[in-house]
Each structure stands twice: as structure tokens, then as C-alpha cells.
């Protein structure tokens, strides 16, 4: 790890960084495949260009963070990965978004199966006003994924365990999900998304509505989850990005300024604008 002036300060601010970098060498990171990628992606709301010629990979079974000031297009970019912007009138896309090498915006591509493979967790926890069990089972039911009830019960338990929520709710699965605290609700939403066994998990500022303790739990969870899932997270919390992610991309006014391994971006950013942002000169 470099030890320039800014670097030393950064490293002290982000203690987790040191241990992460020790565990992964730069070459290991570089050899990871791109599970998803965007290629020269433009995204328009009507006439307004929100994402401008962005090209970047999202590496398999790693966490990629997208940071940037408000309105820079990071949420738009995230939502193009599971075509959630399709329902917005006037939205269109140019360029390619690839999942395992195939363009998801291709006319023959099926958006329903896409969303099963690429799941999403939202900024505000949004469990359905149903029981905890029905929330987690929802995705499996509507996709017709599980044939019999006992298998369904097993999968629900599995998903809740993955989301580190099983011990909390195992005795009250039939109670309403609205009874849970904010942090628990968000983990429920994660469990709900995991239940359909996606390959990629998109997280849009997943902890911004939560208290610090719940946030820490979610971050721990993310690091665990990346063993099995490719994760893309949008966050305005730079410390969070530095804590959990392997790669970080910095977006500004719809442009990708730079994208590189996280320790590198936070200690020796290539672009002066990146440095200005992460040192808090604007944002």
C-alpha cells in the first residue's frame, strides 16, 4: 500500500482497508471475471442524459461500490442493471449492459428472468404488508420456483439465515413484517431478494435509512454475502464504500471518472476530481 501524505491519512481513517488489502493481492482482484458489465452506456430520461458513456465491469463474487455526489447518475446506473427504469416513461438506453456476456437490453431478452438473476434491495426498507414468511416466500411463489410446501419452508429458512435474520424471527414467521425494526426490515428485504437465488445483488444505499448499529450489521452481512453473490452497491457514504467494497467507481455528472480497486481509489486516486470528492471538498 502506498504511503503518500494523503494515503497515510486515508489509511488511518479506514482501518478495515489494511486488512482487506492484505487478504487480496492486486492480481487476484484483476483476474476476477466480470459477471456484469456496462459498455459505453448512455441513459436518457427524455432529453436529459443521466449516464454518459460509462464503461465498467462488475466483477464476480466481489463488491463493487458506486460513489458520487447527489444526482451524478449512480442510482440510474444501478437500476439499468436490472431494468427497473423500464417503467419510467421516456427512459431509454444506448450502449450495452451485459450479464454473462449477453446484452440484457436486447429485444429478445426477458426482463422477468433477468430480475430473478439480478436482485435488488432498496434504500427505504419496503417489506410487503404480509407476514415475514410470506415476504420471503413471495419471490419463489410468483416465479413458480418451488413445487411443494416443505421445500418452500426450507428455502425460506435458508434465505433468512443468509440474511442473518433467522434467529431473530424464527419464532414469529407468521407475524406481520411491519412489526420489525428498520434494520430488521432491511435484512428481511435482503432475505426476500436472496430467496430467489440471484447471481447478482444490487443495493441502493441499503443502510442510509438505518441507525449505526443496524448499518454495521448490514455491512458485515454484505462481506459475508459476497462469497456467493456478485454485489453492486450505490452509496453516498464513502467510509462505507471503503469499508466493504473491493472495487469503487466514482461518478460525476453521469461520467465515470475512474474505477479501480478500493484501496487504490481512496489512497492514490488518479483523477483530481476524485481526490476532491473523497477529501470532502465538494459533495
Amino acid at each position: 500500500m502506498s504511503t503518500s501524505g494523503t494515503g497515510a491519512t486515508m489509511a488511518n481513517q479506514f482501518p478495515l482497508l489494511k486488512t482487506e488489502v492484505k487478504a487480496q493481492s492486486a492480481s487476484a482482484l484483476a483476474s476476477a471475471d466480470a459477471k456484469m458489465s456496462v459498455d459505453s452506456l448512455d441513459a436518457y430520461y427524455g432529453k436529459r442524459l443521466a449516464v454518459d458513456k460509462v464503461t465498467m465491469p462488475f466483477r464476480e463474487k466481489l463488491i463493487t461500490a458506486i460513489i458520487g455526489p447527489s444526482g451524478c447518475g449512480k442510482t440510474t446506473l444501478l437500476r439499468t442493471l436490472n431494468r427497473m427504469n423500464d417503467s419510467i416513461p421516456g427512459f431509454r438506453v444506448e450502449g450495452k449492459v451485459l450479464l454473462d456476456g449477453e446484452d440484457i437490453y436486447h429485444s429478445k431478452s426477458d426482463v422477468i428472468s433477468l430480475r430473478r438473476r439480478v436482485g435488488m434491495v432498496f434504500q427505504q426498507p419496503n417489506p410487503f404488508p404480509k407476514s415475514i414468511f410470506d415476504n420471503v416466500a413471495f419471490g419463489m411463489r410468483i416465479n413458480g420456483l418451488v413445487k411443494d410446501h416443505s421445500a418452500l419452508v426450507e428455502r425460506v429458512e435458508q434465505a433468512l439465515r443468509h440474511a442473518a435474520l433467522w434467529d431473530v424471527v424464527k419464532d414469529r414467521l407468521q407475524k406481520s413484517a411491519m412489526m420489525l425494526s428498520g434494520g430488521e426490515q432491511q435484512r428481511l428485504c435482503i432475505a426476500r431478494a436472496l430467496a430467489v437465488q440471484p447471481e447478482v445483488l444490487l443495493m441502493d444505499e441499503p443502510a442510509s435509512a438505518l441507525d449505526p448499529i443496524s448499518t454495521a450489521k448490514i455491512e458485515e452481512l454484505m462481506v459475508e454475502l459476497k462469497k456467493d453473490y456478485t454485489i453492486v452497491i450505490v452509496t453516498h457514504n464513502m467510509q462505507q464504500a471503503a469499508r466493504v467494497s473491493d472495487f469503487t467507481a466514482f461518478l460525476l455528472n453521469g461520467h465515470l471518472i475512474e474505477c479501480c480497486p478500493t484501496p487504490q481509489l481512496f489512497t492514490t486516486p488518479g483523477d483530481p476530481r476524485t481526490e476532491a470528492y473523497i477529501t470532502g471538498r465538494f459533495g
Binding site: I112, N143, G144, Q158, R161, H162, A164, V196, E224, D228
Partner: protein, 329 residues
């Protein structure tokens, strides 16, 4: 924190095409239901108008009644005491003048609006501008309660109770008359008007009231000179819609107005409205007879008038809204 205890087994998705087809079918059904609603209103136009058409086209009907006979003064009665407008379809010489019916409808509706409008406007102003909260909590449910009274019950009340009270007070010639029916009709129309007017008054932004008060206006002055003019589109809409409701009401007038087709401007005589005529006579009319077609013609007329009133009301509201929002820059 538990790690993955069991390996993930891959799940298989059912045929996605199956789901998409179901989705498309359901969407078509929903669009079809919207079409059904349009069809219904067209069917009403069609089937009510269809039975009215022979009034214009059938020679057989014309032997008994024509449009002219319905509108222009005729020479009924005797040469010494001619009666120009008379509605008496069931008689040796069938008489089909619309004038008594039109006059009757007008009298009852006007009476109802005369009674209901000031009450509704003033009550709405009170509730939005002056009333303490607890009063509003009582009035809102009370108005809903009033709205929930079936018109047949109001007609019953007017016939059995109200008419006697009015007689005691004024001793009119006829116990059942336009005043009696008009008051009961007004009661039926108050909830509609009150609700719309109250919404319109509440929608006036607080800033306007504050500005007026800051300039030294009293509560009443604020209400009368600032809030009410601002809310005028809504108040007017309430009036027009109330008018339409009053015109179309059947049971109250059928029971409480005396049902005598008299041509006069007196409010204290019995009247016959268009709606009551249809209701009273359709039960005994011969299917396919000229009388039958004329009754459907009356229905079409009533439908057309209330339709125009509804359309007019909406139009005025929209135009005044544009003016108002344009003036307040």
C-alpha cells in the same frame, strides 16, 4: 453471524412464457372492462333514445301526438274556457302538452335550490372559516348521515309529516305542493352541495386568509371578500351539480308534490315533474303505444338536460380555475 450451512441448490423456473401469456390475458380483460363502462353509457343513450324515436318518426304515433302538440299551445277545453297547455294522455282526447311538466319541474327545482343553496353555502363557510374543531367533527358525519337517507324516506316524511306542518303554518290550498316537495328535495341536495363547496373553500390557500387578516380584515370580511371569491368555481360547480340532482330526483317529487299537471306559476299548487310523470305513468302504459314512446321521450329529455348541466358545470369550473390560477401569478 451464521455462515452458509448448506450449499445452495439451484432452483428451476417454470415456463416464463406461461406467465407472460397469463399477464397479457389479464391485461386484455382489464382494458375490456374499461370498454364495458363506455359501452354502458352508450347503451343507456341508445336504448332510452331508441324508444323515444317514434315520437319523431312514426306516423302512427303522430296521429296522437307530435312535437308541435307537445310544445305549442293547443285548444283544449271548451271554446268558452280554453285550456292551452294540458297533460292528460289517458283520456278520450289525449293531451300531451309538455308545458305543465316543464313548469312543474322548474318550480320544484327552483324551490329546492332556494332552500338549499343559502344553507349549504353558509354552512360550508361556517365549517371552514369560523367553526371550532369539535363542531366540524359533528357536522361532517351529520352531512353524511343526511346523504345516506334514501329519497323514498324523504318523500315519505314530506308527505306524512312536513306537509301537515306547512299546512298548519301557511294553510295553502293544496296540502301537497311545490313548496313541500321543494323543501324535501332541498334536503336531499344539501349534502352534495355542501361537500363540494366545503372542499372548494378548504382548497383556498392559507396565505390568502393570512394576508387579509394582516391587513386588518375581520373574520367575516375575510371569508366573504377573499375566501369565497377565490372558491367561486367550486361553489358554482356545487350549485350546478345540485341543480342537476334536483331536476333528476324522482321519489321525493312523486310522493310529495301532489302529482297534478297544472300549468301555473304558483308554488303553492300541486305540480307534476318530468321524472314523476315517467314514474307514475310507465307502470300502466301499453307497451308500444304513443304514450309509451312519449314517456321515453321525456326520459331522454331529462337525461339530455342533466347531461348538459353536468358538462356545463365541469366546463365552468375548469375555465374559472384557469382564470384564477392565471391571475394569481
Amino acid at each position: 453471524m451464521s455462515t452458509l450451512a448448506r450449499p445452495i441448490t439451484p432452483l428451476e423456473a417454470t415456463d416464463i412464457r406461461h406467465r407472460r401469456i397469463t399477464d397479457a390475458i389479464i391485461e386484455k380483460i382489464i382494458y375490456a372492462s374499461a370498454l364495458v363502462s363506455i359501452t354502458i353509457i352508450f347503451l343507456i343513450f341508445l336504448f332510452v333514445g331508441k324508444e323515444a324515436l317514434p315520437v319523431f318518426t312514426s306516423a302512427q304515433v303522430h296521429q296522437e301526438v307530435t312535437l308541435q302538440k307537445m310544445i305549442l299551445p293547443q285548444n283544449y277545453g271548451s271554446p268558452e274556457a280554453p285550456v292551452h297547455y294540458m297533460w292528460q294522455p289517458v283520456s278520450q282526447v289525449p293531451k300531451y302538452s309538455l308545458m305543465p311538466l316543464l313548469l312543474g319541474t322548474l318550480k320544484v327545482t327552483l324551490m329546492a335550490m332556494l332552500f338549499a343553496t343559502p344553507l349549504s353555502v353558509l354552512a360550508a363557510i361556517y365549517c371552514t372559516e369560523f367553526a371550532p374543531r369539535w363542531v366540524r367533527e359533528i357536522v361532517k358525519p351529520a352531512i353524511e348521515l343526511l346523504a345516506g337517507i334514501p329519497s323514498v324516506v324523504l318523500g315519505f316524511f314530506a308527505l306524512i309529516v312536513l306537509a301537515s306542518w306547512i299546512q298548519k303554518l301557511f294553510d295553502f290550498d293544496y296540502r301537497l305542493n311545490a313548496v313541500n316537495a321543494g323543501i324535501a328535495l332541498g334536503l336531499a341536495v344539501i349534502p352534495v352541495m355542501f361537500t363540494i363547496m366545503e372542499d372548494a373553500l378548504t382548497a383556498v390557500p392559507r396565505k390568502q386568509r393570512d394576508a387579509a387578516r394582516a391587513l386588518g380584515a375581520t373574520p367575516w370580511q375575510t371569508a366573504w371578500q377573499v375566501v369565497l371569491p377565490s372558491a367561486l368555481p367550486g361553489v358554482l360547480a356545487g350549485f350546478i351539480l345540485g341543480f342537476g340532482r334536483a331536476m333528476g330526483e324522482t321519489m321525493i317529487v312523486l310522493m310529495a308534490s301532489g302529482n297534478a299537471a297544472i300549468t301555473s306559476w304558483s308554488f303553492t299548487e300541486s305540480v307534476r315533474t318530468i321524472s314523476a310523470t315517467i314514474a307514475a305513468e310507465l307502470a300502466e302504459v301499453v307497451f308500444g303505444s304513443p304514450h309509451y314512446h312519449v314517456l321515453f321521450f321525456l326520459g331522454t329529455l331529462l337525461f339530455a338536460i342533466t347531461f348538459v348541466l353536468n358538462w356545463l358545470g365541469t366546463r365552468i369550473v375548469n375555465r374559472l380555475r384557469r382564470q384564477l390560477s392565471g391571475a394569481v401569478v
